[in-house]
Protein backbone atom coordinates (compact mmCIF):
# COMPACT_ATOMS: atom_id res chain seq x y z
CA UNK A 1 0.00 0.00 0.00
CA UNK A 2 1.21 3.49 -0.83
CA UNK A 3 1.44 5.98 1.99
CA UNK A 4 -0.35 8.84 0.22
CA UNK A 5 0.04 11.20 3.18
CA UNK A 6 3.80 10.67 3.10
CA UNK A 7 3.82 11.34 -0.66
CA UNK A 8 1.78 14.53 -0.14
CA UNK A 9 4.47 15.90 2.18
CA UNK A 10 6.86 16.03 -0.81
CA UNK A 11 4.60 18.59 -2.54
CA UNK A 12 4.94 22.02 -0.90
CA UNK A 13 1.96 23.49 -2.76
CA UNK A 14 -0.44 20.89 -1.35
CA UNK A 15 -0.30 22.60 2.04
CA UNK A 16 -1.61 25.86 0.57
CA UNK A 17 -4.91 27.37 1.61
CA UNK A 18 -7.28 28.54 -1.12
CA UNK A 19 -10.11 30.87 -0.09
CA UNK A 20 -9.39 29.92 3.53
CA UNK A 21 -9.82 26.20 2.79
CA UNK A 22 -7.13 23.55 2.29
CA UNK A 23 -6.35 23.17 -1.41
CA UNK A 24 -7.98 20.16 -3.06
CA UNK A 25 -6.24 20.03 -6.41
CA UNK A 26 -8.22 18.08 -9.01
CA UNK A 27 -6.85 19.61 -12.21
CA UNK A 28 -4.05 17.15 -12.84
CA UNK A 29 -4.99 16.50 -16.46
CA UNK A 30 -4.11 20.16 -17.08
CA UNK A 31 -0.89 20.09 -15.11
CA UNK A 32 0.46 18.32 -12.04
CA UNK A 33 2.29 19.68 -9.02
CA UNK A 34 6.00 19.23 -8.51
CA UNK A 35 7.62 17.41 -5.60
CA UNK A 36 10.42 19.08 -3.64
CA UNK A 37 12.83 16.68 -5.35
CA UNK A 38 12.05 18.19 -8.78
CA UNK A 39 12.16 21.77 -7.51
CA UNK A 40 15.49 21.02 -5.78
CA UNK A 41 16.93 19.54 -8.99
CA UNK A 42 16.15 22.78 -10.83
CA UNK A 43 17.70 24.91 -8.09
CA UNK A 44 20.74 22.62 -7.91
CA UNK A 45 21.31 22.91 -11.64
CA UNK A 46 21.14 26.70 -11.68
CA UNK A 47 23.13 27.11 -8.47
CA UNK A 48 25.87 24.59 -9.14
CA UNK A 49 26.07 23.37 -12.73
CA UNK A 50 24.54 26.00 -15.03
CA UNK A 51 26.22 26.01 -18.42
CA UNK A 52 25.45 25.33 -22.05
CA UNK A 53 25.59 21.75 -23.29
CA UNK A 54 27.58 19.97 -26.01
CA UNK A 55 29.87 22.98 -26.46
CA UNK A 56 32.56 23.79 -23.98
CA UNK A 57 35.43 21.71 -22.71
CA UNK A 58 35.21 23.36 -19.31
CA UNK A 59 34.02 21.56 -16.21
CA UNK A 60 30.59 23.19 -15.89
CA UNK A 61 29.73 22.50 -19.52
CA UNK A 62 30.74 18.88 -19.14
CA UNK A 63 28.66 18.55 -15.97
CA UNK A 64 25.64 20.17 -17.61
CA UNK A 65 26.01 17.92 -20.67
CA UNK A 66 26.27 14.80 -18.52
CA UNK A 67 23.19 15.74 -16.46
CA UNK A 68 21.20 16.65 -19.56
CA UNK A 69 22.06 13.40 -21.36
CA UNK A 70 21.46 11.39 -18.20
CA UNK A 71 17.93 12.82 -18.13
CA UNK A 72 17.46 11.62 -21.70
CA UNK A 73 18.59 8.17 -20.63
CA UNK A 74 16.06 8.22 -17.79
CA UNK A 75 13.27 9.03 -20.25
CA UNK A 76 14.48 6.30 -22.58
CA UNK A 77 14.47 3.69 -19.79
CA UNK A 78 11.15 4.94 -18.40
CA UNK A 79 9.29 4.15 -21.63
CA UNK A 80 11.59 1.22 -22.52
CA UNK A 81 12.97 2.73 -25.70
CA UNK A 82 15.62 0.64 -27.41
CA UNK A 83 18.00 3.58 -27.57
CA UNK A 84 18.38 7.15 -26.28
CA UNK A 85 18.77 8.23 -29.92
CA UNK A 86 15.01 7.78 -30.29
CA UNK A 87 14.33 10.36 -27.57
CA UNK A 88 13.98 13.94 -28.83
CA UNK A 89 13.46 16.81 -26.41
CA UNK A 90 10.64 19.17 -27.31
CA UNK A 91 8.67 21.86 -25.47
CA UNK A 92 5.58 19.70 -24.97
CA UNK A 93 3.42 17.03 -26.59
CA UNK A 94 1.97 19.63 -28.99
CA UNK A 95 5.39 20.44 -30.36
CA UNK A 96 6.20 16.73 -30.63
CA UNK A 97 3.06 16.20 -32.73
CA UNK A 98 3.85 19.17 -34.94
CA UNK A 99 7.35 17.83 -35.58
CA UNK A 100 5.85 14.51 -36.75
CA UNK A 101 3.35 16.33 -38.97
CA UNK A 102 6.13 18.42 -40.50
CA UNK A 103 9.22 16.21 -40.55
CA UNK A 104 7.44 12.97 -41.39
CA UNK A 105 4.04 14.09 -42.69
CA UNK A 106 5.26 16.60 -45.29
CA UNK A 107 7.27 13.87 -47.00
CA UNK A 108 4.98 10.89 -46.57
CA UNK A 109 1.39 12.12 -46.83
CA UNK A 110 0.22 12.64 -50.40
CA UNK A 111 -2.88 13.48 -52.35
CA UNK A 112 -5.63 10.92 -51.69
CA UNK A 113 -3.98 9.50 -48.54
CA UNK A 114 -5.92 9.06 -45.33
CA UNK A 115 -5.05 9.89 -41.73
CA UNK A 116 -7.17 8.13 -39.12
CA UNK A 117 -7.84 9.72 -35.73
CA UNK A 118 -10.29 9.20 -32.88
CA UNK A 119 -13.10 11.67 -32.09
CA UNK A 120 -11.60 12.28 -28.62
CA UNK A 121 -8.30 13.79 -29.74
CA UNK A 122 -6.95 16.85 -27.97
CA UNK A 123 -6.79 19.75 -30.44
CA UNK A 124 -3.02 19.15 -30.56
CA UNK A 125 -3.56 15.76 -32.22
CA UNK A 126 -6.24 17.08 -34.55
CA UNK A 127 -5.26 20.44 -35.98
CA UNK A 128 -1.75 19.49 -37.25
CA UNK A 129 -3.37 16.68 -39.27
CA UNK A 130 -6.21 18.91 -40.55
CA UNK A 131 -3.59 21.38 -41.74
CA UNK A 132 -1.40 18.71 -43.31
CA UNK A 133 -4.38 17.09 -45.05
CA UNK A 134 -5.51 20.47 -46.37
CA UNK A 135 -2.10 21.21 -47.85
CA UNK A 136 -1.62 17.74 -49.31
CA UNK A 137 -5.12 16.88 -50.49
CA UNK A 138 -5.36 14.06 -47.96
CA UNK A 139 -8.39 13.14 -45.84
CA UNK A 140 -8.73 12.98 -42.06
CA UNK A 141 -11.10 10.23 -40.91
CA UNK A 142 -12.34 9.26 -37.48
CA UNK A 143 -12.98 6.00 -35.69
CA UNK A 144 -16.58 6.14 -34.40
CA UNK A 145 -17.28 6.37 -30.68
CA UNK A 146 -19.90 4.48 -28.67
CA UNK A 147 -22.32 6.17 -26.25
CA UNK A 148 -20.15 5.32 -23.24
CA UNK A 149 -17.17 7.10 -24.78
CA UNK A 150 -15.10 4.14 -25.99
CA UNK A 151 -13.87 3.66 -29.55
CA UNK A 152 -16.05 1.47 -31.75
CA UNK A 153 -13.50 -0.67 -33.55
CA UNK A 154 -15.97 -3.10 -35.19
CA UNK A 155 -15.41 -1.44 -38.53
CA UNK A 156 -11.63 -1.16 -38.32
CA UNK A 157 -11.28 -3.24 -41.51
CA UNK A 158 -12.74 -0.51 -43.69
CA UNK A 159 -11.39 2.41 -41.63
CA UNK A 160 -7.80 1.29 -42.06
CA UNK A 161 -7.16 0.58 -45.71
CA UNK A 162 -4.51 0.90 -48.40
CA UNK A 163 -4.86 4.69 -48.44
CA UNK A 164 -4.28 4.98 -44.68
CA UNK A 165 -0.78 6.28 -44.05
CA UNK A 166 -1.05 7.20 -40.37
CA UNK A 167 -3.25 6.27 -37.43
CA UNK A 168 -2.85 8.76 -34.59
CA UNK A 169 -4.71 8.09 -31.36
CA UNK A 170 -4.79 9.42 -27.83
CA UNK A 171 -3.90 6.78 -25.24
CA UNK A 172 -6.04 8.25 -22.44
CA UNK A 173 -8.60 10.98 -23.17
CA UNK A 174 -7.96 14.19 -21.23
CA UNK A 175 -11.60 15.23 -21.64
CA UNK A 176 -13.55 12.10 -20.62
CA UNK A 177 -10.88 9.74 -19.29
CA UNK A 178 -11.29 6.84 -21.72
CA UNK A 179 -8.31 4.47 -21.82
CA UNK A 180 -8.18 3.40 -25.44
CA UNK A 181 -7.41 -0.20 -26.35
CA UNK A 182 -4.66 0.79 -28.73
CA UNK A 183 -2.89 -2.52 -29.29
CA UNK A 184 -5.46 -3.86 -31.72
CA UNK A 185 -5.59 -0.55 -33.64
CA UNK A 186 -1.79 -0.43 -33.83
CA UNK A 187 -1.61 -4.02 -35.16
CA UNK A 188 -4.24 -3.30 -37.78
CA UNK A 189 -2.42 -0.12 -38.88
CA UNK A 190 0.83 -1.99 -39.28
CA UNK A 191 -0.82 -4.83 -41.20
CA UNK A 192 -1.95 -2.27 -43.79
CA UNK A 193 1.44 -0.55 -43.95
CA UNK A 194 0.34 2.53 -42.00
CA UNK A 195 2.32 4.02 -39.13
CA UNK A 196 0.91 4.35 -35.63
CA UNK A 197 1.28 7.39 -33.37
CA UNK A 198 0.27 7.24 -29.72
CA UNK A 199 -0.38 10.44 -27.74
CA UNK A 200 0.74 9.50 -24.25
CA UNK A 201 0.30 12.88 -22.55
CA UNK A 202 -2.33 11.45 -20.17
CA UNK A 203 -1.00 7.89 -19.94
CA UNK A 204 2.73 8.15 -19.17
CA UNK A 205 2.09 9.95 -15.85
CA UNK A 206 -0.32 7.28 -14.62
CA UNK A 207 0.72 3.81 -15.85
CA UNK A 208 3.78 1.81 -16.90
CA UNK A 209 4.58 2.45 -20.56
CA UNK A 210 6.60 0.19 -22.82
CA UNK A 211 6.89 1.65 -26.31
CA UNK A 212 8.42 -1.56 -27.63
CA UNK A 213 5.55 -3.66 -26.33
CA UNK A 214 3.02 -1.12 -27.64
CA UNK A 215 4.94 -1.21 -30.92
CA UNK A 216 4.00 2.42 -31.68
CA UNK A 217 6.08 4.23 -34.28
CA UNK A 218 5.72 7.62 -32.61
CA UNK A 219 5.02 8.38 -28.95
CA UNK A 220 4.59 11.89 -27.52
CA UNK A 221 4.18 13.35 -24.04
CA UNK A 222 4.72 16.43 -21.84
CA UNK A 223 6.86 16.67 -18.73
CA UNK A 224 4.60 18.92 -16.70
CA UNK A 225 1.74 16.41 -16.54
CA UNK A 226 4.05 13.92 -14.78
CA UNK A 227 5.43 16.10 -11.96
CA UNK A 228 8.12 17.60 -14.20
CA UNK A 229 8.60 21.26 -15.13
CA UNK A 230 6.63 23.03 -17.85
CA UNK A 231 8.37 23.66 -21.18
CA UNK A 232 9.85 20.19 -21.61
CA UNK A 233 8.30 17.41 -23.66
CA UNK A 234 9.35 14.27 -25.48
CA UNK A 235 9.05 12.83 -28.95
CA UNK A 236 9.94 9.17 -29.33
CA UNK A 237 10.33 7.81 -32.85
CA UNK A 238 11.42 4.32 -33.94
CA UNK A 239 14.96 4.54 -35.27
CA UNK A 240 14.33 3.34 -38.82
CA UNK A 241 11.67 6.04 -39.26
CA UNK A 242 13.62 8.75 -37.47
CA UNK A 243 16.58 8.12 -39.75
CA UNK A 244 14.41 9.08 -42.73
CA UNK A 245 13.00 12.26 -41.18
CA UNK A 246 14.24 15.77 -41.95
CA UNK A 247 14.59 18.29 -39.13
CA UNK A 248 11.85 20.90 -38.71
CA UNK A 249 14.18 23.53 -37.20
CA UNK A 250 17.72 24.19 -38.37
CA UNK A 251 20.55 26.23 -36.89
CA UNK A 252 23.01 25.76 -34.07
CA UNK A 253 23.53 22.52 -32.18
CA UNK A 254 21.99 20.30 -34.90
CA UNK A 255 24.83 20.33 -37.44
CA UNK A 256 27.92 18.30 -38.22
CA UNK A 257 29.66 20.50 -40.76
CA UNK A 258 28.73 23.93 -42.08
CA UNK A 259 30.11 25.91 -45.01
CA UNK A 260 28.79 29.16 -46.49
CA UNK A 261 26.93 27.06 -49.04
CA UNK A 262 25.48 24.13 -47.13
CA UNK A 263 25.39 22.07 -43.96
CA UNK A 264 25.23 18.44 -42.93
CA UNK A 265 23.16 17.29 -39.98
CA UNK A 266 24.40 16.02 -36.66
CA UNK A 267 23.67 12.50 -35.48
CA UNK A 268 20.41 11.56 -33.82
CA UNK A 269 18.81 12.83 -31.71
CA UNK A 270 20.63 16.21 -31.83
CA UNK A 271 19.58 16.64 -35.46
CA UNK A 272 16.11 17.53 -34.20
CA UNK A 273 17.23 19.86 -31.42
CA UNK A 274 18.30 23.14 -33.01
CA UNK A 275 19.42 25.91 -30.67
CA UNK A 276 20.25 25.85 -26.99
CA UNK A 277 17.82 23.36 -25.50
CA UNK A 278 15.79 23.58 -22.29
CA UNK A 279 18.58 22.08 -20.22
CA UNK A 280 17.30 22.74 -16.70
CA UNK A 281 13.79 21.48 -17.34
CA UNK A 282 15.08 18.32 -19.05
CA UNK A 283 17.08 17.65 -15.88
CA UNK A 284 13.96 18.47 -13.84
CA UNK A 285 11.98 15.91 -15.84
CA UNK A 286 14.73 13.40 -15.10
CA UNK A 287 14.19 14.09 -11.38
CA UNK A 288 10.43 13.62 -11.82
CA UNK A 289 11.06 10.24 -13.47
CA UNK A 290 13.29 9.25 -10.54
CA UNK A 291 10.50 10.27 -8.17
CA UNK A 292 7.82 8.33 -10.08
CA UNK A 293 10.07 5.29 -10.47
CA UNK A 294 10.75 5.34 -6.76
CA UNK A 295 7.02 5.13 -6.01
CA UNK A 296 6.60 2.61 -8.84
CA UNK A 297 4.38 3.14 -11.87
CA UNK A 298 2.50 -0.10 -11.19
CA UNK A 299 1.76 1.15 -7.65
CA UNK A 300 0.56 4.50 -9.00
CA UNK A 301 -1.64 2.77 -11.56
CA UNK A 302 -3.18 0.48 -8.93
CA UNK A 303 -3.76 3.29 -6.46
CA UNK A 304 -5.47 5.41 -9.10
CA UNK A 305 -7.65 2.43 -10.03
CA UNK A 306 -8.94 2.44 -6.46
CA UNK A 307 -9.63 6.19 -6.75
CA UNK A 308 -11.51 5.61 -10.02
CA UNK A 309 -13.64 2.83 -8.55
CA UNK A 310 -14.39 4.89 -5.46
CA UNK A 311 -15.17 8.00 -7.51
CA UNK A 312 -17.49 6.17 -9.92
CA UNK A 313 -19.42 4.83 -6.93
CA UNK A 314 -19.64 8.23 -5.22
CA UNK A 315 -20.87 9.97 -8.37
CA UNK A 316 -23.84 7.58 -8.34
CA UNK A 317 -24.99 9.34 -5.13
CA UNK A 318 -25.62 12.46 -7.21
CA UNK A 319 -28.28 10.66 -9.27
CA UNK A 320 -29.68 12.73 -12.11
CA UNK A 321 -28.29 15.97 -10.67
CA UNK A 322 -24.95 15.30 -12.31
CA UNK A 323 -24.25 13.49 -15.56
CA UNK A 324 -20.86 11.77 -15.64
CA UNK A 325 -19.26 11.21 -19.05
CA UNK A 326 -16.93 8.42 -20.16
CA UNK A 327 -16.86 4.64 -19.70
CA UNK A 328 -18.66 3.14 -16.71
CA UNK A 329 -16.12 0.31 -16.54
CA UNK A 330 -13.26 1.38 -14.22
CA UNK A 331 -10.85 -0.73 -16.25
CA UNK A 332 -11.50 1.45 -19.30
CA UNK A 333 -10.90 4.84 -17.74
CA UNK A 334 -8.25 7.00 -16.15
CA UNK A 335 -8.76 9.04 -12.99
CA UNK A 336 -10.67 11.74 -14.86
CA UNK A 337 -14.25 12.64 -13.94
CA UNK A 338 -15.87 14.86 -16.53
CA UNK A 339 -19.40 15.89 -15.67
CA UNK A 340 -22.29 18.24 -16.30
CA UNK A 341 -25.22 19.33 -14.21
CA UNK A 342 -28.45 20.42 -15.87
CA UNK A 343 -28.93 22.94 -13.03
CA UNK A 344 -25.46 24.45 -12.77
CA UNK A 345 -23.36 25.78 -15.63
CA UNK A 346 -19.81 24.34 -15.44
CA UNK A 347 -18.30 27.78 -14.93
CA UNK A 348 -20.52 28.52 -11.97
CA UNK A 349 -19.63 25.07 -10.67
CA UNK A 350 -15.92 25.82 -11.08
CA UNK A 351 -16.17 29.18 -9.31
CA UNK A 352 -18.18 27.82 -6.38
CA UNK A 353 -15.92 24.78 -5.94
CA UNK A 354 -12.95 27.15 -5.97
CA UNK A 355 -14.62 28.93 -3.08
CA UNK A 356 -14.39 25.59 -1.24
CA UNK A 357 -10.70 25.26 -2.13
CA UNK A 358 -11.44 22.68 -4.83
CA UNK A 359 -9.66 23.22 -8.17
CA UNK A 360 -11.41 21.67 -11.17
CA UNK A 361 -11.22 22.55 -14.84
CA UNK A 362 -14.24 23.81 -16.73
CA UNK A 363 -14.73 24.28 -20.45
CA UNK A 364 -14.13 22.15 -23.52
CA UNK A 365 -10.71 20.83 -22.40
CA UNK A 366 -9.14 21.48 -25.81
CA UNK A 367 -11.48 18.88 -27.30
CA UNK A 368 -14.23 21.13 -28.63
CA UNK A 369 -15.77 18.73 -31.19
CA UNK A 370 -15.89 15.95 -28.58
CA UNK A 371 -17.58 18.07 -25.89
CA UNK A 372 -20.06 19.41 -28.44
CA UNK A 373 -20.81 15.80 -29.40
CA UNK A 374 -21.72 15.10 -25.78
CA UNK A 375 -24.57 17.58 -26.23
CA UNK A 376 -23.23 20.20 -23.79
CA UNK A 377 -21.39 23.47 -24.27
CA UNK A 378 -18.83 22.66 -21.59
CA UNK A 379 -18.12 20.21 -18.79
CA UNK A 380 -16.49 20.42 -15.40
CA UNK A 381 -13.61 18.01 -14.94
CA UNK A 382 -11.99 16.62 -11.82
CA UNK A 383 -8.75 14.82 -12.65
CA UNK A 384 -6.70 13.01 -10.02
CA UNK A 385 -3.12 12.00 -9.43
CA UNK A 386 -1.35 9.76 -6.98
CA UNK A 387 -1.33 12.47 -4.28
CA UNK A 388 -5.13 12.79 -4.25
CA UNK A 389 -7.02 11.05 -1.47
CA UNK A 390 -10.38 9.35 -1.04
CA UNK A 391 -11.24 12.18 1.40
CA UNK A 392 -10.75 14.70 -1.38
CA UNK A 393 -13.19 12.79 -3.60
CA UNK A 394 -15.67 12.92 -0.70
CA UNK A 395 -15.19 16.70 -0.43
CA UNK A 396 -15.79 17.06 -4.16
CA UNK A 397 -19.04 15.11 -3.97
CA UNK A 398 -20.23 17.12 -0.96
CA UNK A 399 -19.32 20.32 -2.84
CA UNK A 400 -21.27 19.19 -5.89
CA UNK A 401 -24.31 18.28 -3.82
CA UNK A 402 -24.32 21.65 -2.06
CA UNK A 403 -23.82 23.58 -5.29
CA UNK A 404 -26.62 21.79 -7.10
CA UNK A 405 -28.95 22.30 -4.13
CA UNK A 406 -28.13 26.01 -4.03
CA UNK A 407 -28.83 26.43 -7.72
CA UNK A 408 -32.04 24.45 -7.51
CA UNK A 409 -33.47 25.91 -4.31
CA UNK A 410 -31.75 29.27 -4.13
CA UNK A 411 -32.26 31.15 -0.89
CA UNK A 412 -33.39 28.07 1.00
CA UNK A 413 -29.89 26.66 1.18
CA UNK A 414 -26.52 28.11 1.97
CA UNK A 415 -23.07 27.16 0.76
Amino acid sequence: MLDIYKIRKDFPILSRMINEKPLIYLDNAATTHKPKQVIDALVDFYENHNSNVHRGVHTLSMEATDMYELAREKVSNFINSETTQSIIWTRNASESLNIVAYSWGQHNINNGDEILLSPMEHHSNLIPWQELARKKGATVRFIPMTDDGTLDICDLESLINKRTKLVSIVHVSNAIGTVNQVKIICDKAHSMGALFLLDGAQSVPHMPIDVRDLDCDFFVFSGHKMMGPTGIGVLYVKMDILNQMEPMLTGGEMVLEVTYEKATWADLPMRFEAGTPNIADAIGLGAAIDYLTNIGMENIHNYEKSIIEYGLDKFKELGNDVQLFGPKDPALRGAVFSFHSPDVHPHDMGTILDGMGIAVRTGHHCAMPLVRGLGVSATARASCYVYNTIDEIDSLIVGLKETVRYFKDGAKSDI
Binding site: D348, T351, G355, H364, A378, F407, I415
Partner: protein, 155 residues
Protein backbone atom coordinates in the same frame (compact mmCIF):
# COMPACT_ATOMS: atom_id res chain seq x y z
CA UNK B 1 -19.12 30.17 1.19
CA UNK B 2 -16.99 33.26 1.80
CA UNK B 3 -18.41 36.76 1.39
CA UNK B 4 -16.94 37.25 -2.07
CA UNK B 5 -18.74 34.18 -3.36
CA UNK B 6 -22.00 35.22 -1.73
CA UNK B 7 -21.62 38.60 -3.43
CA UNK B 8 -21.26 36.85 -6.75
CA UNK B 9 -24.26 34.56 -6.44
CA UNK B 10 -26.83 36.78 -4.76
CA UNK B 11 -30.47 35.72 -4.67
CA UNK B 12 -31.40 38.18 -7.40
CA UNK B 13 -28.72 36.68 -9.69
CA UNK B 14 -29.97 33.18 -8.95
CA UNK B 15 -33.53 34.29 -9.58
CA UNK B 16 -32.73 35.76 -13.00
CA UNK B 17 -30.68 32.64 -13.80
CA UNK B 18 -33.63 30.40 -13.08
CA UNK B 19 -36.26 32.64 -14.66
CA UNK B 20 -34.54 34.89 -17.20
CA UNK B 21 -36.70 37.88 -18.21
CA UNK B 22 -37.21 38.89 -21.85
CA UNK B 23 -35.98 35.50 -22.98
CA UNK B 24 -36.86 34.42 -26.53
CA UNK B 25 -36.76 35.85 -30.02
CA UNK B 26 -38.59 39.13 -30.71
CA UNK B 27 -41.03 38.86 -33.57
CA UNK B 28 -40.56 42.42 -34.76
CA UNK B 29 -36.93 43.18 -33.99
CA UNK B 30 -35.12 45.79 -36.07
CA UNK B 31 -31.58 44.80 -35.05
CA UNK B 32 -29.94 41.71 -33.69
CA UNK B 33 -26.43 40.84 -32.67
CA UNK B 34 -24.55 37.74 -31.55
CA UNK B 35 -21.92 37.40 -28.84
CA UNK B 36 -19.57 34.54 -27.99
CA UNK B 37 -17.32 33.71 -25.11
CA UNK B 38 -15.00 31.17 -26.78
CA UNK B 39 -13.38 30.22 -23.49
CA UNK B 40 -16.57 28.82 -21.99
CA UNK B 41 -18.66 28.26 -25.09
CA UNK B 42 -21.23 30.83 -23.96
CA UNK B 43 -23.38 32.19 -26.76
CA UNK B 44 -25.90 35.01 -26.74
CA UNK B 45 -28.20 36.53 -29.33
CA UNK B 46 -29.81 39.91 -28.68
CA UNK B 47 -32.93 41.18 -30.45
CA UNK B 48 -33.68 44.89 -30.35
CA UNK B 49 -36.68 46.85 -31.58
CA UNK B 50 -35.51 50.40 -32.16
CA UNK B 51 -37.94 53.21 -32.91
CA UNK B 52 -36.96 56.88 -33.12
CA UNK B 53 -33.79 56.20 -31.13
CA UNK B 54 -35.69 54.43 -28.33
CA UNK B 55 -35.18 50.77 -27.36
CA UNK B 56 -38.86 49.92 -27.49
CA UNK B 57 -38.30 46.25 -26.90
CA UNK B 58 -35.36 43.91 -26.31
CA UNK B 59 -34.92 40.19 -25.76
CA UNK B 60 -32.22 37.53 -25.80
CA UNK B 61 -31.60 33.83 -26.34
CA UNK B 62 -28.53 31.69 -25.77
CA UNK B 63 -26.62 29.45 -23.40
CA UNK B 64 -24.40 30.58 -20.58
CA UNK B 65 -23.52 30.51 -16.92
CA UNK B 66 -25.59 32.09 -14.17
CA UNK B 67 -23.58 35.30 -14.32
CA UNK B 68 -23.97 35.79 -18.06
CA UNK B 69 -27.62 34.78 -18.12
CA UNK B 70 -28.67 36.96 -15.19
CA UNK B 71 -26.62 39.86 -16.51
CA UNK B 72 -28.38 39.63 -19.88
CA UNK B 73 -31.76 39.27 -18.21
CA UNK B 74 -31.24 42.29 -15.96
CA UNK B 75 -29.77 44.33 -18.79
CA UNK B 76 -32.88 43.86 -20.90
CA UNK B 77 -35.09 44.93 -18.00
CA UNK B 78 -32.90 47.91 -17.28
CA UNK B 79 -32.65 49.43 -20.72
CA UNK B 80 -36.07 48.66 -22.15
CA UNK B 81 -37.65 52.01 -23.01
CA UNK B 82 -34.41 53.93 -22.74
CA UNK B 83 -32.81 55.86 -25.60
CA UNK B 84 -29.73 54.54 -27.40
CA UNK B 85 -27.68 57.36 -25.88
CA UNK B 86 -28.86 56.43 -22.37
CA UNK B 87 -28.12 52.75 -22.95
CA UNK B 88 -24.57 53.56 -24.02
CA UNK B 89 -24.04 55.58 -20.83
CA UNK B 90 -25.23 52.61 -18.74
CA UNK B 91 -22.91 50.31 -20.71
CA UNK B 92 -19.95 52.57 -19.90
CA UNK B 93 -20.87 52.75 -16.23
CA UNK B 94 -21.35 48.98 -16.01
CA UNK B 95 -18.05 48.24 -17.71
CA UNK B 96 -16.19 50.71 -15.51
CA UNK B 97 -17.74 49.19 -12.40
CA UNK B 98 -16.30 45.77 -13.27
CA UNK B 99 -12.92 46.82 -14.59
CA UNK B 100 -11.94 50.03 -12.83
CA UNK B 101 -10.47 48.74 -9.58
CA UNK B 102 -9.62 52.18 -8.28
CA UNK B 103 -13.11 53.62 -8.18
CA UNK B 104 -15.66 52.53 -5.67
CA UNK B 105 -18.15 55.39 -6.18
CA UNK B 106 -20.32 53.80 -8.84
CA UNK B 107 -22.91 56.07 -10.42
CA UNK B 108 -25.73 54.27 -8.61
CA UNK B 109 -28.36 56.54 -10.16
CA UNK B 110 -27.37 55.18 -13.56
CA UNK B 111 -26.71 51.57 -12.61
CA UNK B 112 -29.56 51.10 -10.11
CA UNK B 113 -29.98 47.36 -9.41
CA UNK B 114 -27.17 46.46 -11.85
CA UNK B 115 -24.84 47.44 -9.02
CA UNK B 116 -25.26 43.95 -7.59
CA UNK B 117 -22.75 42.82 -10.24
CA UNK B 118 -19.99 44.90 -8.64
CA UNK B 119 -18.81 41.76 -6.82
CA UNK B 120 -17.87 40.21 -10.15
CA UNK B 121 -14.83 42.50 -10.27
CA UNK B 122 -13.30 40.27 -7.56
CA UNK B 123 -13.37 37.37 -10.05
CA UNK B 124 -11.28 38.42 -13.07
CA UNK B 125 -12.10 35.21 -14.99
CA UNK B 126 -15.82 35.93 -14.68
CA UNK B 127 -15.89 39.59 -15.76
CA UNK B 128 -16.34 38.48 -19.37
CA UNK B 129 -19.45 36.55 -18.38
CA UNK B 130 -21.13 39.67 -17.02
CA UNK B 131 -20.07 42.00 -19.83
CA UNK B 132 -20.80 39.72 -22.81
CA UNK B 133 -24.41 40.91 -23.16
CA UNK B 134 -23.37 44.57 -22.91
CA UNK B 135 -20.72 44.24 -25.61
CA UNK B 136 -23.29 42.45 -27.75
CA UNK B 137 -25.77 45.28 -27.17
CA UNK B 138 -23.13 47.83 -28.05
CA UNK B 139 -22.56 45.98 -31.31
CA UNK B 140 -26.29 45.83 -32.07
CA UNK B 141 -26.61 49.57 -31.48
CA UNK B 142 -23.55 50.51 -33.49
CA UNK B 143 -23.81 50.35 -37.22
CA UNK B 144 -21.21 47.60 -37.58
CA UNK B 145 -22.67 44.13 -37.82
CA UNK B 146 -19.84 42.23 -36.23
CA UNK B 147 -19.94 39.11 -34.11
CA UNK B 148 -18.67 39.93 -30.65
CA UNK B 149 -16.22 37.62 -28.93
CA UNK B 150 -14.91 38.29 -25.47
CA UNK B 151 -11.42 37.60 -26.82
CA UNK B 152 -11.50 40.98 -28.50
CA UNK B 153 -13.10 42.61 -25.52
CA UNK B 154 -11.22 41.64 -22.44
CA UNK B 155 -13.01 44.22 -20.41
Amino acid sequence: MTNDFQDLYQDIVMDHNRRPRNYGELQDFTKSSEGFNPLCGDQLTLYVKLKNGILENISFTGVGCAISKSSASMMTEHIKGKSVAEAIVVFGAFRDMLTDNVRSDFPTDILEDLEIFSGVSQFPTRIKCATLCWHTLNSALSEQNIVITTDDNNR
